[in-house]
Symmetry: C2
Subunit: 137 residues, 2 copies
DNA sequence: CCTCAAAGCTCTAATGACTAGAGCTTTATT
DNA sequence: AATAAAGCTCTAGTCATTAGAGCTTTGAGG
């Protein structure tokens, strides 16, 4: 149905990355044409979309592998999938709050406007001296 | 003044990372003792703190190298340091807003609570089908 | 049928920012 | 003098790709 280039276009996953996913066992080895070219079915497209989507959400390959394994063993409960998603949500929340602190401090630093030489540049001084931070990190 | 272990404790930068920074030319090669051990002065401690702080803020090694170079060439203006900090601020802002979108979607996904088998697990379906997203990413 | 570009293939190596381990030497303490 | 802790160098591994070399296959035009 699709050659690798088409699959790449459809999903937005770059060609070497698709091959890498295959090597990692994240996607199944597709059927090959007589000329040894990978040929994907709709199923392969869907799985790759799944992976792309999960990667965009920031899940690690290992997380995704777990989800993929879950989805191919239908006797296992959905609970584990929930756990993975939930766990990742906590992770994202933590990351956001951390970044917000950084944003605050960077704002403070970037808005210092002196025009002196670097020897007394406040930005550099501010980066050099952690005590000048308003918050900790 | 400080051996590498002490420097590591003071700054929170791990020992192999300190040596890596040295190899990258990010910190100066320190004086060695007769027994070939690295010996740092307060100056070295300060530079490493600077680097640590900037890394914590998410600046890349290359950004930091630029700042380091700036700070050792006092004739250059502070403007460039501002530019780097400002540019990074924009980057952080973009990252935060991206993560917020992800948070929203993950919340939506993680709160789907079905107890069926994975074959119809909404989480997995939701990850597989990008069209189910409320927003794009 | 032939040619030629585009797209495919495999394999190796690079990226960034570390981190870990092997196998050794130096230092400090008992 | 012995031993443990901390240092050293060097190599290789991590994660998730990405890039490049050098080759083959495919499809379209002449």
């Amino acid at each position: 149905m699709y050659l690798i280039g088409e699959l790449s276009k459809q999903t937005g996953v770059k060609i070497p990355t698709i091959r890498y996913y295959e090597e990692m066992g994240l996607i199944e080895k597709p059927h090959r044409t007589s000329g040894n070219q990978r040929q994907y079915e709709r199923e392969g497209l869907e799985r790759l979309s799944f992976i792309k989507h999960a990667r965009d959400l920031g899940l690690s390959i290992e997380d995704i592998r777990e989800l993929v394994d879950l989805s191919s063993s239908p006797e296992k409960s959905c609970k584990q999938a929930h756990e993975i998603a939930h766990h990742h949500l906590q992770f994202i929340k933590a990351k956001i709050s951390k970044l917000r602190k950084l944003e605050k401090e960077l704002k403070r630093i970037a808005l210092l406007d002196d025009e002196g030489h670097v020897g007394k540049c406040k930005i550099i001084a501010s980066l050099a001296d952690h005590r000048l931070c308003k918050g900790e990190h």
